[in-house]
């Protein structure tokens, strides 16, 4: 029997190793095939390989298969399988979006399909993989059976789009999401008192995504050598939603992604609905010394970046750092939430 600690080590290192090796080859291949984007926030306007999400998806699928083979508990195997299917569906929608540029309304609608495996588990003979009794701070366990089932379809599409909207600068998505994942890991330990000796699928999911994101960050951080594209942001966003539901960390993750939600609120309210990113007016422009400043265009969406640079232009690295500071702060609040949940359960 493989011990839980070894499963956790495998869950973290396999995706880290696979994507760490995969990215250099992928970057070369994409540049050779002419599939690249121009990094408009740099003076040199470098060519950067696109659709890095493909490596993320492949790494996660292989890692999930290995994890299923290593784990012996059938329920955990089923959960890993469902998690893998969910994020793969979101990833495929992302790849289609990268190639065809989906309509801004069609994309979230299609993402509803990604939550089907989780909803379908309601009718599994082993019982649903989720627990319709979310944990609230100070209240504890709540029974929201019908309401929970009604909200389930949005569990993937909302975080997937929120993460997609924050993926605008080198390393911004990876940095902030890694912080959220670390928070989820700590919150999981605080709330459920699970240490490394107990095999917990939530920890496996968190470690897998963190591993793949660390490798991605190496190539996506400033100055980026690869762009993740929608294929990466939708996959990672979907994984956050799946972790929230399967791991009963709904409220903790909502609090941890407050900056993401604020960004989405700003965009949706300013463009009055959902609009494809490429069809929106640009909210930022570059100064002569290559800092990011606001365009003051009334038609441009109001974003978190706009709020960060309200007091003056900032370098791209500093904007990403600001996102990091905001996410660290919301993560501290999320950990306080976890403690307030632990106190009452």
């Amino acid at each position: 029997m493989v011990s839980s600690l070894i499963v956790y080590i495998i869950a973290f290192t396999v995706p880290l190793f696979l994507s760490g090796i995969g990215f250099p080859f992928f970057i070369k291949f994409m540049l050779k095939k002419g599939i690249f984007g121009i990094d408009i926030h740099k003076k040199e306007q470098p060519k950067v390989a696109e659709m890095g999400g493909i490596v993320i998806i492949i790494s996660l699928i292989i890692s999930s298969v290995i994890a299923i083979l290593v784990v012996e508990d059938s329920k955990v195997q089923l959960m890993i399988g469902m998690f893998c299917i969910t994020i793969t569906i979101a990833g495929i929608i992302g790849i289609i979006d990268d190639f065809l540029t989906l309509n801004a309304i069609l994309k979230p609608v299609l993402l509803l399909i990604a939550s089907v495996p989780i909803i379908a588990s309601t009718w599994f003979s082993t019982g649903p993989l989720y627990n319709p009794e979310p944990l609230f701070p100070l209240i504890g366990q709540t029974r929201l059976t019908i309401v929970y089932l009604m909200l389930l379809p949005f569990v993937i599409t909302v975080p997937a789009n929120a993460v997609n909207m924050i993926d605008v600068f080198n390393g911004s998505m990876a940095t902030t999401t890694i912080i959220v994942l670390i928070t989820s890991f700590i919150a999981n330990i605080i709330i459920f008192d699970r240490d490394y000796t107990i095999l917990d699928p939530t920890n496996i999911f968190i470690l897998m995504i963190t591993g793949v994101l660390i490798a991605f960050l190496v190539y996506n951080r400033y100055p980026a050598r690869v762009f993740g594209g929608d294929s990466s942001s939708l996959t990672i966003g979907a994984s956050l939603g799946a972790i929230a539901v399967l791991g009963r960390l709904e409220i903790v993750i909502i609090i941890a992604i407050i900056p993401f939600i604020m960004n989405s609120f700003g965009i949706i309210s300013s463009v009055k609905g959902l609009l494809e990113r490429r069809k929106m007016a640009r909210p930022t422009k570059m100064t002569k010394d290559w800092k990011i400043e606001s365009t003051n265009d009334q038609k441009a969406p109001i974003t978190l970046v706009g709020l960060v640079i309200q007091k003056g232009p900032l370098h791209e690295k500093d904007v990403v750092k600001s996102f990091g500071v905001l996410t660290v702060f919301s993560s501290i609040l999320a950990i306080i939430t976890a403690i307030l949940i632990r106190v009452v359960i």
Binding site: F136, P137, L138, I139, L144, V147, I255, I258, P259, I261, M262, F265, G266, S269, S270, Q298, I302, T303, L304, G306, L307, V308, Q310, K311, G312, L314, H315, D318, K321, S322, V325, L326, F329, S330, L333, I336, T337, L340
Partner: protein, 110 residues
């Protein structure tokens, strides 16, 4: 830029995060003390109605919280000058409407 120089630029957003968190915990406290603590009724029909009402009230509270969060985020992201300009345009539109109404009234009288 160092973090200690960067953080003061973010105090408004950090404040909003704290506000969002604080109000959420406040709502949870209200739900816990007033709604969850509401005694159950031995009659199953009444008990069902009470249970459903509890859920609906809680959802309304959460919806209000989400709307307030949305509204403040929207206001915070718009600069003071933009708000002034928007108010000015609104005022001007109102004045034009009023003038049109007055003219209509005059026309009817004549």
């Amino acid at each position: 830029m160092r973090l200690h120089k960067l953080t003061p630029k973010l105090y408004r957003v950090l404040g909003l995060e704290l506000f969002v968190f604080g109000t959420f915990i406040g709502i949870c406290a209200i739900i816990d003390s007033l709604i969850v603590g509401f005694p159950e009724n031995p009659n199953p029909t009444i008990n069902f109605i009470i249970g459903a009402s509890k859920v609906i009230i809680s959802i309304i509270l959460i919806a209000i919280w989400l709307y307030v969060w949305y509204y403040i985020t929207k206001r915070l992201m718009v600069s003071k000058e933009d708000i002034k300009e928007a108010k000015k345009i609104k005022r001007e539109k109102k004045q034009v409407k009023m003038q049109k109404k007055k003219e209509k009234k005059k026309n009817i009288k004549t």
